[in-house]
Subunit: 341 residues, 4 copies
C-alpha cells in the first residue's frame, strides 16, 4: 500500500534525528534560551535577510496561528482571510476562541487577491456604520495555499501595498513553505517573503522536522511581551532546544530548500504523468499537493492499492482527490503509482 | 425637519413614563427580583403561551445577543446566521469576543432559509474533517430582518424542523419584533414564535420603551446559571424593575401590538405613496422600514427637508435609502413627507 | 417597613424624570452623538478640570468595569485589586471572562495601600520567572470602597506615584462616588480624582439617576477605538441621550454633590445615634454605608420593622449589618429608625 | 559544571529515541488516530485500572492545563487552586485567558487541603450574594506539588469526598507525576489517583520523554467534543504518534515508574547528605526536588561549580535554593555534588 494522504505522515529527516540523539544527554536551559535556538534563529535571520527579526519556535500550525494572531490583534480588531483559509475553516474556531473575527473574502484558487482586500477596505471605510464593526487589522495568507497554489512576487507586493495603505499587518502562514520555496518557477524566496510580510512562519512539521514552526517577526517588538504571550497561549515548550535543533539542521547547507525541491520534483513527475494519461487536473498546483479529477470507478480501483485524500465531489461520476508528496517520498513510490494510473 | 432615520430616536410611550414616575420613590429590591418584573414576566409568558418559560430583562440588543449566544454555546460551538445578520456585521465582533464563530450563510432579502441551513449541515457532516471545525449549535435569525422582511409561519417551521434534525437551538432576535407582529398579513404571532424558537427576545428599545429587551427561554434551564451569566456579561441591571415596569406596561391591554400596528400602518401609507408616485421599491418590506430607490438629485433635494438612512448605492444615478417609522411617528409627519415626494 | 438595604432601591431624582419627560418626543440621534451628551460631557470635564478628557456613558457598574478594564489591557496584562474589590468578588468573573487576571492584594478596610502595590511590584520584578507571569498593568480601586471607606488625597497621590513608577494605569470605580465627594471631612474632590487617576467613572445608578455611569478617560486615546470597544462589550446604548440627559441634570447647579451630601448627612446622624446608644461600629465609614455590630436578638427584633443588609457573622451572638442611606432617604425615616434602636 | 536547575534539561530516555528512529519512515495517520497511540492509551488505562478512560496526548503542561480546564468549565465556572499552584502563578494567565477565574486558597507546603476547600464552599453557599460570584466547579491540585510534596491516599480521598459533596471535578496536574509515584513511602499509585480524580495528566516532558503529557479522563464524555476542543486550543499535534510512541515506551516494562524511582533515590541520597552535614532542609520533600537553606556565602561558592534554582530569600544571610534530580541524573553527579557541600 502506497500512501499519499498528506505530507505529515513521517518523522524527521535523518540528520535531525542524528543531531537530537547526539545532544540528548546535554543539559540545556529551558524556554528557548539556549545556544542552539540562538544559532537556528541566526541562520533563519540570515536566510531571510532580516538581521533584526525576532524568531520564536512553536510546535504546530494551529497553535502558531492562534498565538500570533491572538497576540498581535487588539480586542476590537479582526483578521482578513480567504474563505478557504486554514484559520477560517480547519482550526476549530481557534481565532474566535481568542476573541477575534476572521473576516472572509472570496479567493482565487486559494489565494487572497490584493484587489479583494482593497475592495473590502474601501467598502468598510465607505460605510458610515463602520465604527460598529470589527476593525480589520491584519491580512492572513498561506503560501502555498490550501490548494497548493503560490503567490507571485508581484502579488505579494500588491498585498503589501494595500496593507500599507490601510495599516494592516501582513501575516503569512508557511506550514508548507518549503514546498513553495522549492517550486520550479517561483520568484518568491524567503527574502521576498520577509520583504513583504510583517510576520510569517516557516513550517517544519510538514517539511522534514519531527514537529515545529519558526515564527519570524520582522520588526522587533511588533508584538510586545510576545514571550509571555506564547506562555499564555500554551505555545512555549519547556525544551525549546528540541525545536531550535531541528531548525538549526534544516537551515544548514540548504537542507530546508532541498527537501522542498525533492517533494516538488516528484509531484511534477506525477502531475505530468496524470496529464499524459489524459486525466483532468483540477487545479494547476506547482507544489507538492496535486489535485486531480478521477472517475469514481478508477478512484475505487486505485484506493485498493494507494491511499490519497478525498477533496470534493466533482460531478455524479467524478471526484477530486489530492495526492501529496513530501520530503520523504521516494521516486520508486511515484513510479509505481504512475504505473497504476 | 422631519426625521425618519431610525426607530429609536424617541423616548418611551407616555404610559411608560407615567408609570415610572408613579413608582419612582418606591423602594424596590434589586436585580429583577421584584414583583413588577414577576408581573411583566407572567404577562409575557401568557402572550407567548409558554407557562414555563424563563424571562430575563436586558438593556440593549447587542448586549442581549452577546449574553444569550455566549451563554448558550460551549467553547467549541458556533452560531449560524445570515451574512447580513446583525451579529455578523454590526456588533463589533461581540460574539467572537465571547469566543464563538458566526458561521455566515447566504440570505434571501435578509432571511435565512431552512434549505441553506440544511445544505450547510449536510456538507458539514459529509466532510470527514468536520471534527476539526467549529461545531454549529445554534441558528440566529431576526424577525423582522435587517431588511424589514418577515418569516412566514411555514418558514419558521421549516427552520425548526432542520434545527431539530441537527440538534441546533433556534434563536430569534426580535429587536423590532413589534413591527413584525403588527404587520398586516403576517401569520406569525408571539405564540408561533414561541412554538418554533428555543430562545428569543422581544424588543422594547425600538418599540415604545425607553430601553429594554425581554429574553424568553422557552424551556427552563436551557442555559444553566443564566442569572450568574447575565452578571458576568454585564447585562444584569441593578434596578431590574426599570425594565420590568416598561414591559409590564407594554404587555397590558395589547399596547405592544398596537404600537407595532401604528408604525406599520404609517409605513404602508408611505410605501403606497412611493408606489403611486412611480418610485422603485427596493425590497418589499411589510414592516416599519421601507427601502426605496431614489434618483440622486431627488435624494439631495429631499435631504434638505427630511432625514433618512443611506442604505447602499443602487447605480450611478440612484441610491437605496431607508425610511423608518416608529411607534412615535405621527400621521401628519407621513402626510407632509408624502407631499414632498 | 423601612428599607435601608441598599442605595439603588429608588428611581431617579425628580428633576431627571422631569427632564426626560420634557424631551421624550424629541428626535435624537443615536449612540451618544447628540447634543445633550455633549453638554453633559462638557459639564463633567469642567467639574473634573480635565478639558481634554473623553467622557463615555454606560449603563451599569459591572458593565463599565468589564468594558474599561477589558479594553485597556492587552492579553498578557492583569489588574491589581484589593481582595474585597467588586471586580474580585461580585462581578461573576466578568474580568476573567474578558481574559484578564485580577491580582488580589490584602486591603485595609477595603482600601488598597500604595505600600501593598509597591511590595507586589518589587517582588514581581525581583522574581526571575516573572516573564512567565501575568504582567500587572492597572490598579483598580473604588472610592468609596466596598466598606464605605475613603481614600485621602495623600493616599491617592501615593498610589499615583507607585503607578507612575511601574507604568500602571490607575482606575477608580466610582459607583458610589457621590457619597464620597459628599463626605464631611474628605479632601478628595473630582479634581483630585482626575489629577491622580487615568480613568475613573462617576456613578449615577446609586446617586440620583435611574441608571448610568460616566466614564472619564483623562488623556484622549488612552484606549484606542473605545467607541467600537463599547459596542463589542454590549455597553453602547442606542439611546445614549437617556444617559447624557441624566448626567446633564446631575451636573447642573451642583445636584450630584448635594445628593451625596444629603445621604451622608443622614448616615452620620444614624451613626451618631448608634454610637450614643452604645452600639459597636464595625468600620468607621464616613459615607452612606454604615456597618454596625448588632446582638442577634436585637437584629431579629429590628428586622421585623426595618430591612438592612447582612454583612458577616461577628461572633456567636453578634452580626455585622449594613444600613445604607441614599439621595432619596428622608430624615423622618432615619428618625424613626433611631427610635427603634 | 554540574546542573541541578530543573528536571527538563535533557532529551529523552534512550529507548524512546531508539523507538522513534525505528519508526521514523513509517507512514502514520495523523491526529492521534494511529495504532501506537491506541497501544499507549491501552497501557495507560491498564496502569490506571480505568478500562473506560479516554486518553489524549498533548505537548506541554501549560497547554494541557489550559485545554483541560478551559474545556471542562462553562463560562460562569471557576477552578479552585492553591495560591502556589502552577496555574495560579506561572502560566501567564492562561486560565484567565480562557475566561475562567482561578480561585486561590491557602496551602500547606504546596498542598490544598480538603478542609480549605470545604470552608470555602461552605462560605460560598452561606453567602446570599453567591449567584453574583464565579461558581466553583473544579479543584486543581498537582502531585507532586510545586514544593515537591505529595498527597497521601487519605488526603486525596478527603478531597474526593468534598468534591463529590459540592459537585466539583477533581483535576490533578501530574507534570512530575513519575517522581511522586517513585517516592519511597508514598501510598499513592496510579490507581489511587484514578480512583479519586476525574481528570489527571501523566507528565512525560520532565520524566523521560522528549516532550508530552498524557491526559486521562476517567469517565468518557466528561468533556464533550474534547477532540475538537484540543484543536481549538492548539493542543492537537498533527503527528500524534510522536507522543503516543513515547508513552508507549514509558508504559512498557514499568519504565515510567523506574525512571521516577531513579531520580528520587538520588534526591534522597542528596537530602541525607545535606542533613548529615547540618544544612537546614526548607521543606521535607520526598521527591526529586530538594529545597535547602544555604548561607549566602556558601551559595555563592557552590554556584561557581554547580547550577541550581533560586527559590526565595530566607533571611539576610540565607537563601532557599532548589536542587532537582531527574531520570537522567547520574549517581556520580550526586556524589561529586555531595563532596562540595
Amino acid at each position: 500500500m502506497q500512501h499519499f494522504d498528506s505530507d505529515y505522515m513521517e518523522g524527521a529527516h535523518p540528520l535531525i534525528l542524528e543531531r537530537l540523539a547526539e545532544i540528548n544527554m546535554n543539559k540545556m536551559p529551558g524556554y528557548g534560551t539556549d545556544d542552539i535556538c540562538k544559532s537556528a534563529a541566526d541562520k533563519i535571520r540570515k536566510a531571510c535577510a532580516c538581521p533584526e527579526a525576532e524568531v520564536f519556535f512553536m510546535v504546530g500550525g494551529t497553535q502558531t496561528n492562534a498565538t500570533v494572531i491572538g497576540s498581535a490583534l487588539r480586542s476590537f480588531e479582526g483578521v482578513i482571510a480567504a474563505k478557504t483559509g486554514h484559520i477560517a475553516v480547519h482550526e476549530a474556531g481557534a481565532i474566535e476562541h481568542g476573541g477575534h473575527k476572521v473576516i472572509t473574502l472570496d479567493h482565487s484558487e486559494g489565494k487572497l487577491e490584493a484587489e479583494a482586500v482593497k475592495n473590502y477596505m474601501e467598502g468598510f471605510f465607505g460605510d458610515d456604520t463602520h465604527p460598529h464593526m470589527v476593525q480589520p487589522a491584519m491580512v492572513y495568507i498561506s503560501h502555498p495555499t490550501e490548494y497548493g497554489t503560490l503567490y507571485t512576487k508581484a502579488e505579494l507586493e500588491a498585498l503589501r501595498e494595500i496593507c500599507g495603505r490601510y495599516n494592516l499587518m501582513l501575516y503569512l502562514d508557511g506550514a508548507r513553505m518549503g514546498y513553495g520555496l522549492g517550486a520550479e518557477s517561483t520568484d518568491v524566496d524567503l527574502k521576498v517573503i520577509a520583504e513583504n510580510c510583517d510576520i510569517f512562519y516557516i513550517g517544519g512539521t510538514k517539511v522534514g522536522a519531527l514537529f515545529g514552526e519558526a515564527v519570524v517577526i520582522k520588526k522587533p517588538n511588533t508584538i510586545p511581551h510576545f514571550f509571555t504571550l506564547t506562555k499564555q497561549f500554551g505555545a512555549m515548550p519547556a525544551k525549546g532546544w528540541l525545536l531550535g535543533t531541528q531548525f538549526d539542521v534544516l537551515f544548514t547547507d540548504g537542507l530546508y530548500l532541498s527537501l522542498g525541491k525533492h517533494a516538488v520534483g516528484l509531484a511534477m513527475k506525477l502531475k505530468n504523468a496524470f496529464i499524459e494519461k489524459g486525466y483532468k487536473i483540477f487545479i494547476d498546483s506547482p507544489t507538492n499537493q496535486q489535485f486531480v479529477v478521477l472517475e469514481n470507478e478508477k478512484m475505487e480501483e486505485l484506493s485498493k492499492k494507494v491511499s490519497f485524500g478525498f477533496w470534493e465531489k466533482y460531478d455524479e461520476n467524478h471526484t477530486v482527490v489530492r495526492f501529496a508528496t513530501s520530503w520523504a517520498t521516494k521516486e520508486e513510490d511515484i513510479d509505481s503509482l504512475i504505473e497504476m494510473l
